[in-house]
Symmetry: C2
Subunit: 406 residues, 2 copies
């Protein structure tokens, strides 16, 4: 059965008013005043339409969204957070199925159509997180695409048995090989990076590595990543999340690193962090590096912030990068749409005929206005189906969910 959705009177990327016809999940026509074909019709009211927002770095398995407030008294070191979290998951009952579902639905409500989620793997919790998020991915498959990164949050070299768990996660269906601070956490940059590149090679999967290491230490780890990407021919298949080291002051050194990232198509993912050195988005983009963004953890043991809104995240990216002009804010929005789509290597992403019918109608006079105001989304469409309206997900309890109470 053919299903059609005609969205009337919208402005793609704040351009001229058109109608958009989506047939069988794909955009087929983008023209002024199309005739209805007998399917559903939505009135866009002249609103701006942008492709679905891409949440390219988050942690669906560990959010405490919807749970009782967690009073955070966690110490300042990375390891304090890692250890507190490992214990708190059990004590507080942070169920990865329930919590990933809650966060994913919050994302859908706010116009996100694609999510890349790192999911913790460690020798205490094993693959429970991956199994949980896989279940949510399956349940919500008509609402949002979820990609899973097998993520050794507690360290890999320092926790024997973790590499084997990573392998099993990839066999189960995690799409991406994760990694974490090869020096700062795992104390063995060569060993850590050799291990994750080996997994990537064996399984033919891309890599997305958390790199919080700052300054010269982070730059050294980044050099090791660059060397392996070149040696193994993994151009376009490696992403570095956070990459605080690219915010260091040595402009010449950073410039050389950026040139190598561009040459090897190594992607960068940022949150636009206010309290950390930060990859310079404008410089990266002008060098040709694909930059995506994510909300990172939302209301979890690491911190209480976050709503899951990728338009608000575009604002944070703008604020961090001192973007004030309209064209700069359009870059920030691009990072949260096409940039993330580039990192995830999404096919048929955009608002042209042939693309998937994944899009969001935003409020605002201009793209910059939509970013800084980030008011509730008027309409969110996933493969031609309305999945949220007025900031609320249409489907909050799919049939599968009723079989068990979360």
């Amino acid at each position: 059965m053919t299903t059609n959705l005609l969205i009337r009177n919208v402005r793609p990327m704040a351009g001229s008013n058109v109608d958009i016809l989506i047939e069988n999940g794909r955009i087929t026509r983008v023209e002024p005043e199309l005739s209805p074909l007998g399917g559903l019709v939505e009135d866009g009211g002249g609103r701006i339409v942008v492709p679905g927002l891409v949440e390219a770095h988050t942690h669906l398995d560990k959010s405490m969204i919807g749970m009782a407030w967690y009073r955070n008294e966690v110490g300042p070191r990375l390891i304090d957070k890692i250890e507190t979290e490992r214990e708190a998951k059990i004590r507080l009952g942070i169920d990865p199925v329930r919590q990933s579902r809650r966060q994913a639905l919050a994302s859908v409500a706010q116009g996100t159509t694609h999510i890349r989620s790192h999911v913790d793997i460690d020798t205490v919790h094993g693959l429970a997180g991956v199994e949980g998020v896989m279940r949510t991915r399956d349940e919500l498959r008509d609402l949002v695409d979820i990609e899973i990164v097998a993520f050794p949050q507690g360290g890999m070299m320092i926790r024997p048995g973790t590499i084997e768990l990573m392998r099993r996660a990839l066999e189960m269906g995690a799409e991406v090989v994760g990694g974490l601070d090869p020096a700062g956490v795992d104390r063995d940059p060569k060993g850590h990076l050799d291990a994750i590149f080996d997994l990537a090679q064996r399984f033919g999967r891309p890599i997305d590595i958390h790199l919080h290491e700052a300054g010269e230490l982070g730059a050294f780890s980044l050099e090791l990543i660059i060397e392996r990407t070149r040696a193994l021919g993994m151009q376009g298949r490696v992403a570095v999340s956070h990459a605080f080291c690219l915010g260091m002051h040595d402009a010449d050194y950073v410039g050389r690193l950026i040139d190598e990232l561009a040459e090897l198509s190594i992607h960068i993912l940022t949150t636009g962090p206010a309290s950390q050195p930060s990859p310079p988005v404008a410089k990266l983009r002008s060098a040709g590096v694909v930059v995506g963004a994510g909300n990172d953890g939302i209301r979890d043991i690491w911190g209480p912030y976050g709503s899951g809104d990728m338009l608000e995240r575009a604002m944070f990216v703008g604020l961090r990068n001192n973007f004030r002009r309209d064209d700069e804010l359009e870059w920030a929005l691009d990072v949260c749409t096409r940039g993330g789509a580039g990192v995830l290597a999404l096919e048929r992403y955009g608002l042209m005929p042939g693309c998937w019918g994944d899009m969001v109608l935003v409020e605002g006079e201009t793209l910059a206005d939509a970013v800084v105001s980030h008011r509730p989304r008027a309409l969110v469409v996933k493969r031609g189906k309305v999945v949220a309206r007025g900031g609320v997900a249409v489907q909050t309890s799919p049939a599968q969910m009723s079989t068990k109470t979360y």
Copy 2:
């Protein structure tokens, strides 16, 4: 005529449930289950109540809130913004009466009960800004207290005639002497600071100076401010806004500056800027320095950001200072309430009997939750009168406003 307001079932600073009685604008009783005295009664529904939010650094005269979207193509230098703005005020018709009213009402709706606004004074626009904001201050006097800083935005030493305009602004009723980057903009740190301290001495007024100057230059200007504060006995009467130089890396030097600020009761105002070095709020507070916060310009020539929400600003302060624990987020909220009240030297500020009945009921399980979620305010009370409800100002068109259409 006595007017009473009884607010039932609220939790001051997230503490135990009490009722709050306000008589003739002042809090008279804070106790569980008070008996009504025949005045108005509001049900707080067990919500957290905090003292009115204090917007301690903004620019009411120049917001473009409610106007058509301004496409920002302004250059990157400070002077680009200053010169573009001076011209745009005329070309775009940025009316200081209308715009200050719009922004002040948006602030009221979001729980702000006190505003310190810098208002531009220059030789092109003269005192039009001050006159405009004074009119709004008068019209909205039952909704919000507005304090005016005579602010030489375009420079003072480099624009002869500006000091005389500053003098006239103070005579007209501006309460505070402003200043701006004595080296970076005015090119004469000694001359600029001598001039503004002289005005402060002659009129017996406090000082609030914008100091964007970074690193060693800003620290030098700050030293000059410290020297004059000490020499003239202006302890507790000087505030420095932005003070990016306190975010410099030289921890020993910054530590010495902070000790002097504490000794002389020089206050610091911050926005929690993501893209600039920033005063370390925790260090300043633990040294005894009063720190307030403000939204700075909202949707103006300088940049498109901002909603006027001081709870959201507390979140920005938290993000910038890497505050993650609940107690840290409570500091951020304290900066946006008691901290600002300290800078403005407000009397009878707080939730104790004897204080003015200025308060806001917020949504959230805890104070930290209220900050990170910053959902629309349930109720805003100014001197015992309800001025906003559910995020909407009760009085959007006072009688005085109807005499002219804005």
